[in-house]
């Protein structure tokens, strides 16, 4: 269904006026409701929800749109009807007293009837007309009109009278729903679709693999665009809700806002800032690799920022998850108490895939979370085939992206050979894919994590060891040893070995240093002794030359004295 296109059309041409049914989702599929002032046929097998749908149409009309309605029941008594919808929180008696709704039970019992000649259904017309006029009804429901056929034998009269009835309803200008049981090869047992040709809605109730799913399809809607697919619908304590999540457009808003995964080391791998807001993240891995822990961390992080999160658990009960996460230092209970975190646990086999989708859709719409967790999607396979799960997840992701809700799926990879292909075939849909895998080496099992993909951001290509301790989760760089990647105790051993090496090296360095200093000392000692020797030799030499000088001086002095003396004498 392309709404934009339809709106464009509305601007150009006056289109069919429509009456909103008020039933969640149905008005979206029909582009505004069922044709105003015309009869609509709702058909389906027994127990598919025809009566409830038509009754909800009347009740919603009376409450939400201020359009009084007449409900003419050919099957159930008015008290039974009132009782049936009381469980949905509607008070039919009160609405009847307020003259917003008129219930009329038509009782036909063949055993009490004798047909004695020509007749017509004028009584029904009078009755209906009186009911409509008494409350000014805008909406009319004839619940299983075909019951007339079991009560009366003259089919020719009935058919011509029904034709007249539909014309009459149109003339009255009331929006009518006529329900009919599905017949063999025909939409209705008596071929009512011949008379009601404007809008036909088919309800279906199928059981596949022992799981029943209700579906709705608009077979025909004259003069209007409408969704043509089969849409699942849900009957719960709030009535009927139809799920029109099949947006085929890829025009969703995107956000460049980032949200943290709750594990700082993981954020670091993702460009240092975590995931994009509104993106979808798949965490896959073999059993016991800590997928749930990652998901719980993510939920915990969302809640610690004061934002809302829904945790859809398909494997464990909420209490089990809370207890288990306590062991790794995550206290989810506090957020549950604060109303930030909501658990929504159900066994996948509880109902069909589509029902799961509708249920999730409803919870999400109501709670308006910032992020959701689905743990694990693998279990959904038990209720549908891979392709069905995929189509369901496509629709869920579509819906979530539109709502800008970040989603984290966990998926179990069953085979140990990690296939790059798919996990439930959703890997092509998700924006980020984290893979947690076992690394078995040296007689122990460790966890390695890496990012398979992360659209639109620079991300690490490194395998990190994923460590779960009682303090929480952390990622550690793995060691590359001669025999490959080292994890766990092998990594510890490697670290130890390297530490030992360092000590030894340090020691060696120290010894060499000391040797050098000793050598230097020896050398320095030698240098000083040579110096001393040189000094003593120098002194010796100096002494000799000084003596000679002295001798020379003394000799010269003596000669001068002698000369002087000789002169005096002579």
């Amino acid at each position: 269904m392309s709404k934009a296109k339809e709106q464009k059309m509305n601007e150009k041409y006056p289109t069919l006026p429509k009456t909103p049914t008020g039933i969640i989702g149905l008005d979206e599929i029909t582009g505004g409701g069922i044709p105003k002032g015309r009869p609509t046929l709702v058909c389906g097998d027994a127990g598919c929800g025809k009566t409830l749908m038509s009754l909800e149409f009347i009740i919603r009309g009376a409450i939400d749109f201020d359009e009084p309605g007449v409900f003419m029941a050919f099957e159930e008594k008015t008290e039974e009807l009132a009782m049936n919808v009381a469980s949905l929180g509607f008070d039919l008696d009160k609405l009847q007293k307020q003259k917003k709704i008129k219930l009329d039970h038509v009782h036909i019992d063949r055993s009490e009837i004798e047909e004695t000649g020509e007749y017509d259904l004028e009584g029904l017309f009078i009755r209906l007309s009186y009911a409509i006029d008494s409350i000014g009804a805008k909406r009319v429901v004839l619940d299983t009109l075909e019951n007339l056929f079991s009560g009366l034998s003259n089919e020719t009269v009935l058919r011509s009278e029904l034709r007249r009835l539909f014309h009459w309803l149109k003339d009255k200008g009331v929006t009518a729903i006529i329900t009919g049981e599905r017949g063999d090869g025909k939409l209705t047992r008596q071929g009512l679709e011949e008379y009601v040709s404007d809008c036909v809605i088919l309800l279906d109730h199928r059981v596949i693999n022992q799981i029943s799913t209700r579906r709705l399809r608009i077979v025909k809607y004259r003069g209007s665009l409408h969704g043509t697919n089969e849409y699942p619908f849900l009957i719960d304590e709030e009535g009927i809700s139809v799920l029109p999540v099949t947006s085929l457009k890829l025009e969703k808003p995107v956000s460049s806002e980032r949200i943290t995964s709750g594990i700082p080391a993981l954020d670091k791998m993702l460009d240092g800032r975590g995931f994009f807001k509104g993106s979808s993240i798949l965490v896959s891995g073999t059993a016991g690799t800590g997928k749930t822990s990652i998901a719980a961390y993510f939920a915990n992080q969302t809640c610690s920022e004061g934002k809302k999160c829904i945790y859809f658990a398909f494997e464990e009960s909420p209490n089990q998850i809370i207890r288990n996460m306590h062991s790794i230092g995550v206290n989810l209970q506090q957020y549950v108490d604060k109303g930030l975190l909501k658990f929504f646990a159900s066994r996948p086999t509880l109902y069909g895939l589509e029902m799961h989708l509708v249920a999730m859709y409803k919870v999400i719409k109501k709670f308006k979370p910032q992020s959701i967790v689905l743990d694990p999607i693998t279990n959904l396979i038990t209720v549908g085939s891979v392709s069905e799960v995929k189509s369901m997840l496509i629709r869920l992701i579509d819906f979530l992206q539109e709502e800008q809700i970040t989603v984290m799926f966990t998926a179990l990879t069953l085979n140990t050979i990690i296939s790059d292909q798919t996990d439930e075939g959703v890997s092509s849909l998700v924006d980020a894919w984290l893979l947690v895998r076992d690394i078995e080496y040296n007689g122990e099992r460790n966890r390695g994590m890496y990012i398979m993909k992360s659209r639109g951001m620079k991300h690490s290509n490194q395998v990190r060891e994923f460590v779960i301790t009682d303090k929480g989760l952390d990622l550690v760089d793995v060691y590359l040893g001669p025999e490959g990647v080292l994890t766990g105790s092998a990594r510890e051993a490697q670290i130890l070995q390297e530490q030992t090496g360092e000590v030894l090296r340090d020691y060696a360095f120290g010894r060499k240093d000391r040797e050098i200093s000793r050598k230097r000392k020896v050398l320095e000692a030698k240098i000083s002794s040579l110096q001393t020797e040189f000094e003593s030799i120098e002194e010796e030499l100096n002494k000799v030359s000084q003596e000679e000088e002295l001798v020379k001086q003394v000799a010269a002095k003596t000669r001068a004295e002698i000369t002087q003396r000789r002169g005096e004498k002579g």
């Binding site: 009782h107 036909i108 004798e114 004695t116 007749y119 009584g123 009078i126 009755r127 009366l152």
Partner: protein, 104 residues
């Protein structure tokens, strides 16, 4: 089909018939029904019946109360059991059976 007392003839003598005929104005079916019924009553129940002819157009409320769908309709109020005869009463046999005037 009709639970009849074996000696119904006697009972009929004692108990008077109360009949109500619901019609829609002067439509062909209704007119026929009135004349047919009058004839049957005159023939089989002379002076032993009370007939009330009700025009549903005039009293639409009665349609819901009396569970009326098909018109014209003859309602045999008494003697019990209550019976409803649909149509213009042209099939005299069926009318007589319905009124308990004839064995099936």
């Amino acid at each position: 089909m009709v639970e009849q007392d074996p000696d119904y003839d006697n009972l009929d003598e004692q108990q008077s018939y109360i009949l109500r005929l619901f019609v829609t104005g002067a439509s062909p079916n209704s007119s026929r029904a009135i004349s047919n019924l009058k004839q049957i009553c005159e023939t089989y129940l002379k002076d032993n019946y009370e007939l009330e002819i009700i025009d549903v157009y005039q009293q639409p409320m009665i349609a819901e109360r009396e569970q009326i769908i098909v018109l014209p309709m003859l309602l045999k109020v008494s003697p019990s059991p209550e019976r409803r005869l649909m149509g213009d009463l042209s099939d005299t046999e069926k009318v007589l059976i319905g009124l308990g005037l004839k064995k099936y």
